[in-house]
Each structure stands twice: as structure tokens, then as C-alpha cells.
Amino acid sequence: MNDIALWDSLRSGAFALGAPLFLVVAAIVTLLCDISSPTSVLKRGTGLAAFFGVLGGAAISMQQGSELAATGAAQFSPSSTSTSLWGGGILIDGFGTGINFILCLAAFLTLLMSGKYLTERKLPRGEFYALILFATAGAMIMAQSADLVNLFVGLEVLSVALYILAGFARRDWRSEESAVKYFLLGAFASGFLLYGIALIYGAAGITASHLKLTVGHSLTNLGMISELLTKSASTAQPLVTMPLFVVGVAFMLVGLGFKAALAPFHSYAPDVYEGAPAPVSAYMSAAAKLGAFAGLIRLLQPILAQGDQAALFRAAVWTLALLTMLIGNIMAIRQTNLKRMLAFSSIAHAGYVLVGVLAGSTPGGGFAADAIPFYLFAYTLMNLGAFAITVWLGKNGEEQVLISSFSGLGKRHPLAAGVLTVFLLSLAGIPPTAGFLGKLYLFVGAMKAGFVGLAIAGLLISAIGLFYYLNLVVKMYFEDAPDGQASEPVRGDAKLAALIAAIATIVFGILPLSMLSPKAEVATKPTPVAAEPGAAAPVEPRSH
């Protein structure tokens, strides 16, 4: 390979990974600024660099997305990696850029809500910002990876950063406990994930040697696996039913399911979210899920494409989705701590997304696949927004987390109560909010892909959500405030974050002109809505 070719290859690779790369650079700059002397100008650049990084990442994601949309080259399929970036290990498609954008949004809101909070608690800002940026970059690599190895290392960057962030609060026993739990269980789950990758690697290799197939440089490349799955489908030992492969995928489900907080791998989430500083919990609940679901859908899509042979995987994911929705919703009911409640609620939402992932990975589920980014977008807004409220209303270095302390908030802080109500309604899926549209989108997709029962079950189970979301609304508006709780909240930046999220939640609920949807439309060109069999001819209402 000559130098020019090498340079081209690296350049296109860098372009493909533009967003994470930008974030990493920004993170390093942030760290450098931070270690400069407190009096220097550079010190002040700490936050600036971080925000610049996040916004730049978002801009790059958008730019990439619109470029893809313009060329129509966006393909949501790891198997058709036309450009072999990073040895085929990286994909650049509408889905990935979409997730990247949402990740930037999550990071942005997190940074916004944490500024004053960190200062108040005397926590190191520079490291915090840098770690958020690093974690975001890791999740972005997961979202863009077409190779299980990249998925794994991306996940580890994300996880390790989150372990640190969970224990970030000094002198806070809860934060430390949260970090220990997250770390021990996370590492345990990583073990399963890695073992799953190893088994898949072996199964793929064995199948390839049977088929006498010239393999690529990586056997864990999802395109490679997809090819092997297809080519072996009609042989005596199809890869998809090969026990080694099945166990491997199952272990990967455990590992990724842990990150996405799917039941029964969810147990850590409530404890960790409760103990970690609120901005971290907020970030975790969005970013870890975003990465994990991106990984899940990338992993499952080639497998579930195998039709009937993949029925067992479909059944497994189906069960996990149902269980997750149930456990998340049921357990949330008895919570008295808002962060903990939100943790269970985020578990429930993970269940809904998994319904979408299942549907989106199934052939003919393009619609659901498009719904996932939108849903995650809405979820990020409303969940981060709700966490931001706890930061906004907290004082003396604390967060306001006890549900009972929200009594009479409607009178004390009408704005905060109104904003939180928006988030809660959105989380409950009540119109006119982005949460409602997202749920609609997602479950339409599930139905279209044939998961009627699961979609109905999901909708009915989500009714349980009303109990706990609206319990809070009731507290805020229908109950009187406890005495002596009338100090004005001071954390203006968290307020700003909450307001931005709330406005976006409403706007995207009423005017869903998101950058995500037009692109999603392009991505689903092969399965347009109107081409559905049995669809009625579009009616021209003006014809009389």
C-alpha cells in the first residue's frame, strides 16, 4: 500500500468517524484547559471546549446525515458496506448518524444542567466534561460499528467513563455505592459480552471453513456474519441454528441487555441511578441505552433476517421485551424517590424500544427501525428533562428527589411544575408530546412487522405508567405544599436545560419536523408505507 492510498484510507476513515473524533479531541482540549492554571484564560475555556465539542459533534452528525439523505446512499444494513472504512469495521448510515446526533443532544443537556451543580458541590468540572465527551464518543463508535470488536471497545470506553462518573460525587456514600455496583456488575456483564463475541467468532469461523469460503480479515464483522448466515442457511448446519452461535448471541444479549437495562439484567439500574449524581444518572439513562440499542439492532438485524430459522431469537427477544416492560412499570409504582422512579421508568422505556428493535430487525420492519431513533430522541428529551428538574430544584448541593417533596409545586414553582408535567405526560405517552408520537411511531412499526400481540401488550402495560407518572402530577397540583419549602431555585443552567427539553418535547409532539424523520423516510425507501399490500389507494379528499 502506497502512502497516498494510506492517506486516503485514513482520511475517509476519519471523515466517517468525524463526530466521535471531534468529541475526543474536544475532550482532550478540555482536559488541557482544565489543568492550566486557574488564572489563565485557558481555564475558562474548559466549558467552552466541551460545549464546542458537543455542538460540533452534533453539527457533523447532521451534516453527515443530510449528505447521506441527499445522495440517497444511506443504507441501514451492515451487510452492504460499500466503502470499506477501517477494514469494514465502521459504518456510516442514517441510523448511526441519527443516534450520534441524539447522543450529542444528551451530552449537551447533561453539560448544561451540570455546570452550577458541580460548582456547588465542588466537583472537578474539567474531568467531568471530558469524561462525558469520552463516553459520548464511545457510544458513537458503538452506534457506527459494523464489527463486534469495535462494538466491544466502544462499549468499554462508554462503560469505563460511566463507572467513573457514577462515583464522581465526593463525600457522597450513595455515589460511591452506585459506582461499585455499576462497576462490578458492568464488568461481569462485559465478561459475558466478550465471551459471546468469542463464541460467535468461533461459530463463524467453523462455518466458514465448512463452506470453504474466503473470509474477510475479521470474522466478527457483521457483514461477514450476515453473509455466512445467508450462505449457510440451506446447508446441513446453518450458522443461525448452530449451538455455539446461539449461545454466543445469547451471551451478547446478556451483555448488551445489561447496558440497556433490560430485565432481568436491569437490577443495577435503580440503585445506580439513585446513587449517582443526577446529571450522571440522566446521561447514563440516555447514552448507555442509545449505544446498547444501536449495538443490539446491528447485531440482531442480520440474524433475524434469517426468517423462520431465527424464530428462537425472536422468541427470546420478545420475552425480554415483555418482561422488561412489565418489571419496569410495576416496580416504578412503589417508588418514593424520583430518580429511582425514573430509573424504573427508563427500564420500562427500554422495553418499548426493544419492541421496536425486535420489529426493526425483522424483515419488513423498516418502519420500526425508523421509529427507534425518533423514540430515543423523544426519550432523551423527556428523561433528561425530568432529571434536570431534580437538579434545578435542588439546593445546598443536593437534588430534589423525594416525590413527597413535590407536593404543592404547582403553587410554589408553577414553571417547574408545568415543565415537569410536560415530561411526565410525555413519558406516559399522552398527547400532544413527543413521547406520544414516538410511542405511536414505534408501535405502528411493531404492528406492521407483525408483532401485534407484543404491541398491544406494550400499550396496555404502559397504562401502568399512568399510576406513577400522574401520581406526581397529582402531588404537584392537587396537594398542598409542606411548610417551609419556599426558597427560590437557583440553578439557572439546569432550568435552561429543562426548558429546552420541555419546549422540544412539545414542539416535536405537535410539529414533528425533526431532522430524523425525513432521513428515516429516505432510509426506508425499499419499504414505503404506501406499498404495503392491501393498502387502500390514497384518497384524494378534495375530489368530490
Binding site: 398527547p431 400499550l459 396496555l460 399512568l466 387502500a536
Partner: protein, 483 residues
Amino acid sequence: MDSKSFLLLLVLIPLLGTLLISLSERGHAKAIALVGSVVTLLFSLFSLLPSGSGNGPFYNLSDASWFPALGIHLRLGVDGVSAWLILLTSLLGLGALLCPYQIPEEKRKVYYGAVLALIGLLNGAFAALDLVLFYLCFEACLLPVYFLIGIFGGTRRRATAQKFLIFSVIGALGMLASILGVYAVAGTFDVIALRQRGIAGEAGALLFLGFAVAFAIKTPLFPLHTWQADAYAETPTPVVALVGGAMAKLGTYGFYRFCLGVFPEASAQYGSVLVWLAVAGIVYAGLIAAVQKDLKRLMAFSSVSHLGFIVMGLFSGNIQGVSGACVQMVNHGIIAGGLFLLLAYLENRRGTLKIYGLGGLWDQMPIFSRIFLLFTLASVALPLTNGFVGEFLTLLGTFKLYPAAAAVAVTGVIWSAVYMLGMYQRVFYGAPSRQVSSFSDLSDGESGLLAPLAVLIFLLGIYPAPLLVTMNGAVEATVGSTK
């Protein structure tokens, strides 16, 4: 008038009014609400006039793509039935806003804003010709009522608000599931297209079920009615005029528009179940109404009973039954709305609506008593009042296919006499108690507010043709598809 803009105005004007109220000062809340409501009423009068583009029984159609990825449109239009319901909503909404009621100063904005929003959302639900748009309005309607209950209700307001919401949203989610299913099957949310296409077979039956449950809760249909009496009891009485008069019609209207319109086969097949549930409700609620101790609760059960006639008629499977039901939707709205406004007047004077302790109002408040008697008689479906037309037609229609059900339902005329006249006797006859003797009769303004409704009771009772004729096309198109 540009038809494209004008139905949307019926939704947007009240909602913008709400927004304005939330941003403006307390003192202006009522004025803004009244202006918004009056303008809405004026516009809603136009909804009866077929103008703009039409399609089948629908007219005043407008269409704008809203969420292209999902094929959701801002698709509005009315037929003979929904046009009347919009008019009814706007009328009762204005009535509720005008009705004098004790509202704490600091809660004015919430009150007027919520009522105005409710008007807009109800109008939206009645005018929506897109499933998602309908669902949006249908479910969003809950929120103003929820807050009105929770903020203005009595001691049991929290539990009641929760119960109201849980019932409604569970139903709504069932419907949402069905809406998604419809989209999966038919690939569109367009109601007109769906009506032309129809959804049959097992899928149709399942999807029908989802819709039916939602509407059964909303209506409410026995045995899913238990939220209603509580909710009415805790909602400010003038608002109950709007809620009981117009919002309850969302359920029956939903049956009419979606169950009958989109699932003709399932409606015919499972209609008997709904007919029998409705009939059971007529008798059951009639009996329970007779032993209520609170006037509002009594009226709530009376509503269950009366709405039973509507549901029964809708699923009777013939034109008489369905048009009777549609007529009754409007007529019951007028009667119930009037009765609740009357109760609000009484509550203003007395503070509570417990029956115990009342009596002798006949001589104490002659005008009030006379007007109340008129509405009571309309409620017991006396011929030449508007209450008769619908009940007669629904029973007549039902008798054809389900004579046994009609035979049971017809006892409803007995039960309504039992509870309404029993109530009337206890409240108005006898010697005035000491408490009662301080009550003043209705002021001119108060009786003036009821005058339009009272006139309508006679007018539509003696000459129901305006209703029947305008609804005829819509009903025939709906029943025609059932056959």
C-alpha cells in the same frame, strides 16, 4: 369562507384562548374565555352549512400533511352528525363559561383556560377525520377535565381524578392499539378511505374490540361506568354541563364514526353484545339512579341510562335505530347540559347538591322549578320534547332485530320516571324547609342562559326534521355500509 381554515379555527381559537389566558392576568381570564367561546360558537354555526369540498356525507373537508413519515394528516371535515355535535359543544361550552359559579380568585385562570381548552379539543375530536388526530384530541380532552377535577373537586378529588384518568386512558390505549392495527392492516389513518374500504374478518373483529372498549368507557357503557358518577360529583357543576352534555358524546360518536363506519362487519356481528350491555345499563343505571342521595350523582346515572339508548340504537343495525341514536346524542346533550346548569344554579345558592334537606322549591323558586320541570320531562322522554324523538327511534329500530332487548330497554321509560319524578318530588314539592326559604329565584340572566336550551327542547321535539334531515345522509351512508 375558506373551508380549509375554518374547521381548524374551531380547534385553534379555543386553544389559543387558553394559551392567552395562561399568559395574561387573572382578571382577564373570563373575558378572554367568553370571547373565544363566542367566536367559536359563531364559527361552529357554519359547520352545519355544507360548503367547501365534500366526499360522500362529509363536507367542509380540509387536509394537510402533518407527520409524513407516519402518514398522519391534519384532516378535518364534518358530516351531519358531527356538525351538530360541534354546535352542541360550542353552545354548552359557552353555557358553562357563562354560568355563574364560585371560583376562588387564584384559580380563575385554570378554570377558564381548562374549559376553553376542552371546547377546542372536543371540537377537534368531532371534526377529525384522521385516526391519530382523533385520538390526539380524544385523549387530550382528559387533561382539562383531570385538572378541573383535581383542583376544584371536593375531598375525594385526588382519588377521583386518578380513577377518571386511569379508566379513560386505559380505554384510550386500547383504542390506540387498534388504531395502530388499522394502520398495519390498511396502511392509512384516513377515516374516509377506511370507511370506503372497511375492515372485515378476524382482524376487523379484534380492532373493533379495541375501539369498542375505549368508547364504552368514554360513553360510559355498563359495566365500565363506575368512574363517571364520581367524576361528575367532583367536577365543577357548570363544567359537568359540558362534560356530561358534550364530552360523553365522544364515546357514542366514536361508536358511530369508527365502529360502525370502519368495521361494519364486526359491528353487525358483535352488535348484539353491545346492545345487551347497553340495555343492561339502561335498567341497572336506572335502578341505581333511584337511590342516589346526591343530585349530580343521580344525573350521572341517568346519563348512563340514557346513553344506553344511544348505544343500543347505534348497533340496532337499521336506519331508524342509528338516526335515533344520532338525534339523541344532540338531544341528550341539550337536556343534560340544561339540567347540569340548573344544578349549578342550585349549588350556587346552597353549596351542596345533597338531596336531603331540599324540598318545597316549587313555591320558593317558581321559575327555577318550572324550567327544571321542563328539562325533567324532556329527560323522561315525554313526546313533543326532544327527548322523545331519539328514544322512540332507537327503541323502534332495536325492536326489529332484538325484540327482547327492546322489551327490556323499554322499561327504561319506567325507570326514568321513577328516579326523575322521585327526585323532582323530593326537591320541589312539600313544604319549604328553613334552609330553602332563603333561596332567591333565578335572575333574568340565569334564566336567559337556559332559554336557548329550553327553546331547543320544544323546537326539536315538535319539529325534529332539522336534525333528522341533516343527519340523514350521514346515517344512511353509515348504515348502508353495515348491510
